[in-house]
């Protein structure tokens, strides 16, 4: 560990120097351009406002073109401002003048959750006297935060470009399924099936019981990316497949999920007999973790095999159409004494 850190340290210092050296001439040039561009920008705007009607159309167009060009330039400068070192004041001016779309977004985000005034540098707050503002200056950081990477530009991807489906157990009565189908796959399907057939096909979530058999299909509405599946009282193990149901009714599988086991509900009918000593407790599992899962699943496996899935189960899945399963899992379950539920446990947290 230590050697790794040591090895990393010189690399870090070296890089920093070269980055700074490389960036220095560029940033100096940028400063100039930023100032040059920023200065005339405000002046004509103020003057132009009352004279708007008198301005010839050509001039207006030219000005518009110029401002677009400026904006593009500004964007580039804002994005590439790596390893820039400037006194806080100049840096502030520059960011103020050359606000990229990204930093505007950043500003919006900051405002939303911090209530800072738009465009204001950190530390300047409305509603304070001049004296207060000056006093607050002692808390300003020496360097204004350098934005090397703008997280607010990140958009959660619609698809990660893979075919997959996963199941999570929420409670004994609900399972959460989410999936991803890559655009490539959809293109391939369009090619092989034709656009018309694909338009008539439906993305389908197939829910299976790998232990006692049985399955149900949930025809997904367009745009759905996850689904809450109502579980069946009689079964506990689930697996899912994501696929396409073709107009012919054929199901074409695209990906297969992990398999999950819903928790058993209510006290076990069997009383514990086997005992171990704590010293040997660690040695209990000749079978390891698989044994734990198995023991839990086998605990009181439903004696009634699941009746063939089909429409009825599909409709149950449909009960979660709004993506909001009604109520909690345990509420009306037999044997769960509400007195023993820590209803208040969440109200006091933090």
């Amino acid at each position: 560990m230590a050697s790794k850190k040591k090895a990393a340290a010189p690399a870090r210092g070296g890089k920093r120097k070269t980055a700074a050296r490389k960036a220095a001439p560029r940033s100096a040039a940028l400063k100039k351009t930023a100032k040059k561009k920023a200065a005339p920008r405000k002046a004509p705007k103020k003057k132009a406002a009352p004279k708007k009607k008198a301005t010839p159309k050509k001039a207006l167009k030219k000005a518009a073109r110029k401002s677009v060009a400026k904006k593009v330039a500004k964007k580039k400068t804002a994005i590439r401002k790596t390893a820039r070192k400037a006194a806080p004041k100049t840096a502030r001016k520059k960011t103020g003048a050359a606000r990229s779309r990204g930093s505007a977004l950043a500003g919006a985000a900051r405002r939303k959750w911090k209530d800072a005034p738009p465009g204001a540098p950190p530390g300047v707050v409305p509603g304070l006297s001049d004296e207060d503002q000056i006093r607050s200056a002692k808390y300003l950081p020496r360097d204004l935060p350098k934005r090397l990477f703008e997280e607010e530009r990140f958009l959660f991807p619609e698809s990660y470009g893979v075919n997959r489906v996963r199941l999570l157990v929420r409670d004994p009565e609900w399972i959460f399924a989410y999936w991803d189908v890559s655009p490539e796959t959809m293109k391939g399907l369009t090619k092989s099936l034709g656009e018309r057939a694909l338009a008539l096909s439906r993305l389908t979530l197939r829910v299976l019981d790998p232990v006692s058999g049985g399955m149900s299909d949930i025809l997904l509405p367009p745009g759905a990316r996850w689904w809450y599946i109502r579980t069946d009282v009689a079964r506990r193990t689930y697996r899912a497949e994501i696929g396409i149901t073709l107009p012919s009714g054929e199901f074409r599988q695209l990906a297969e999920s992990n398999s999950v086991v819903t928790p058993r509900v209510g006290p076990s009918r069997e009383r514990a007999r086997r005992r171990v000593s704590y010293r040997n407790a660690g040695a209990v599992p000749p079978e390891g973790a698989a044994a734990a899962r198995e023991a839990e699943r086998e605990a009181d496996l439903a004696s009634d095999p699941w009746v063939a899935g089909g429409d009825e189960a599909a409709q149950r899945g449909g009960a979660s159409d709004t993506f909001r399963p009604p109520g909690g899992g345990r509420r009306d379950r037999p044997g769960a004494s509400d007195a023993f539920r820590p209803g208040a446990s969440d109200t006091h947290r933090r």
Binding site: R16, W113, F156, A272, E296, G328
Partner: protein, 530 residues
């Protein structure tokens, strides 16, 4: 020999909130407030018990993010500034109350004294090493500190990517070893979230026991003979203690719990919201109103609105804390007597609470604990406090039962962390975890820069997985911040993944920026994801 045992467990955790990029960051106050109101007061109680040679046993979790914040130079430096501002304000308050509200003046002086004591302890006595102060108590054998998952990730919902669960546990245990100089014996599973099979990861790092919500034991199979009042061993080889609901309710319940007593300090009426902004000045560095920790009123009565709260009388509140401690002890005595009559060993009553409940939410909570431990030591022989390790050493015969999936959230399962308000995060968390595993397996001989990027990617993933973000989204408190944190960590992870897979250049300044911001677990090795 006592008739039965009481095992108090305080779970101390806060998410890793550290923003070097801002001079003041509102959410960092969570940590500062908890230090002033919970962690330092609890340590003072333990110091006092040790000084007076009171035999007590307490079990605590200090989550890795919390310990990391306690040992972070930037945050502790900011905490000093925070205390300075607070003391300055308290001093001004003594003058203001003398002038305007003489009936509160004594209380203002009390606050000043209190904050100065905290500063003396933290800055002078402990030299900013709060973790070290806890560690010294652990070394006396009276306090047992447990480990926790690396960033308090909610393990049941990480189940599809086993390496993610494994990394949370391994990194947590490794961090514990580094910070406390010994192997952890037990773990607090975040939110008591257990899924059968996770034992294997606990065993890999040598953990022996953990805690479950009551139904984790009462609904185990086969049925344990003594409910939650004796630990069980699972087929996976881990010992489980169950939460006792009776003692929990006495403290947690908003209706019948002690903290709602009319003499206790009112949490919501704080001078940060009441006095003029220009008077508060420096105490609100960014001009935003917030709780400042000076509160002059008591709960006063059921349904009394904030405007009509009565002044807080410290002596009454302390008296009430002592009364409640007596009541709690009386109830435990009767409880263990009743239980012992039906058991072949002394019962253990396990009472886990969020540590921040004591002091931060229930201001007099630390004094309650103080009196309770003293009474338990001096006044009776029926019930004694104990740590899980000690109990197992004395009464190590365990029934073998398999607990079901369970958590201590509302309804007992994963609903709090998986519902319409926060379900959208799981596809992204899950995909990032899979990508992390892919990177760890694919890149066997990384360059120095790549190794740093891989380690940082693991940090970003771990931070994104904190259960706090989903919890906040559900409870609708600082939702924008929780969303921002989820997005920021996933965005940084996404960049590193793309850079490491050749989809974009890996820029050292950007990586360094990530390392500076998210500097948790400096010793982390990405190999844990293989």
């Amino acid at each position: 020999m006592p008739v039965g045992y009481w095992c108090p467990v305080l779970h101390a955790h806060l998410p890793y909130v550290r923003h070097p990029e801002h001079p003041h960051f509102l959410e960092e106050d969570w940590f500062f407030e908890a230090l002033t109101e919970t962690y330092v007061p609890i340590l003072r109680v333990l110091d006092g018990l040790q000084r007076d040679e009171v035999e007590y046993r307490l079990t605590m979790t200090l989550s890795p993010p919390l310990v990391s914040m306690m040992t972070d130079e930037l945050l502790m430096g900011r905490y000093h500034q925070h205390l300075d501002r607070l003391i300055e304000l308290a001093r001004r308050e003594t003058e203001r109350t003398k002038r305007e509200q003489p009936h509160l003046e004594a209380l203002a002086w009390w606050y000043l004294q209190e904050f100065e004591d905290v500063r003396r302890l933290v800055c002078d006595d402990w030299r900013s090493d709060v973790r070290g102060a806890f560690r010294r108590h652990q070394d006396t054998g009276r306090l047992e500190i447990l480990t926790c998952a690396a960033t308090h990730g909610f393990l049941p919902l990480m189940d599809p990517v086993p390496q993610a669960v494994r990394a949370q546990i391994h990194v947590g245990a490794q961090h514990y070893r580094k910070e406390f100089g010994r192997d952890p014996s037990g773990i607090w599973l975040p939110e008591c979230g257990y899924v059968p099979g996770h034992e294997v990861y606990l065993k890999e790092v040598g953990l022996r026991f953990t805690f479950l919500e009551a139904h984790g034991l009462t609904e185990a199979h086969p049925r344990p003979s003594f409910g939650v009042h004796a630990p069980i061993a699972s087929a996976g080889g881990i010992v489980f203690f169950g939460r006792d609901m009776e003692s929990s309710r006495q403290v947690w319940s908003s209706e019948s719990g002690y903290p709602g007593d009319f003499d206790y300090r009112e949490f919501y009426k704080d001078i940060g919201w009441e006095l003029p902004l220009d008077y508060l000045g420096d105490s609100l560095p960014d001009g935003q109103r917030k709780n400042l920790g000076i509160k002059y009123h008591r709960v006063s009565g059921r349904g009394v609105d904030l405007a009509h709260k009565q002044p807080y009388v410290r002596a009454w509140a302390l008296e009430k804390a002592a009364v409640h401690a007596g009541n709690f002890l009386f109830n435990r005595e009767r409880q263990v007597e009743h239980l012992a009559a039906h058991m072949d060993r002394p019962p253990i009553v396990v009472s886990p609470y969020d540590a921040e409940l004591f002091g931060h939410w229930w201001f007099e909570g630390p004094q309650f604990l103080d009196v309770l431990f003293r009474k338990m030591h001096h006044d009776q022989d029926i019930v004694r406090s104990i740590t899980p390790s000690e109990y197992l050493a004395r009464h190590g015969e365990l029934e073998v039962c398999q607990p079901p999936m369970s958590t201590w959230g509302a309804q007992g399962y994963a609903e709090v962390w998986l519902n319409a308000s926060n379900d959208w995060i799981y596809p992204h968390l899950d995909m990032s975890a899979e990508r992390m595993v892919e990177l760890a397996r694919r890149i066997e001989h990384p360059s120095d820069l790549e190794r740093r990027a891989l380690d940082q990617a693991a940090r970003e993933l771990l931070l994104a997985q904190s259960s706090d973000w989903a919890f906040i989204m559900k409870t609708d408190t600082t939702v924008e911040y929780a969303k921002k944190r989820t997005r920021d960590h996933i965005a940084r992870f996404d960049y590193l993944y793309r850079a490491l897979t050749g989809q974009c250049p890996l820029e050292e300044p950007i990586l360094r920026d990530f390392e500076d911001r998210d500097n948790i677990f400096p010793e982390l090795d990405y190999w844990v994801y293989r």
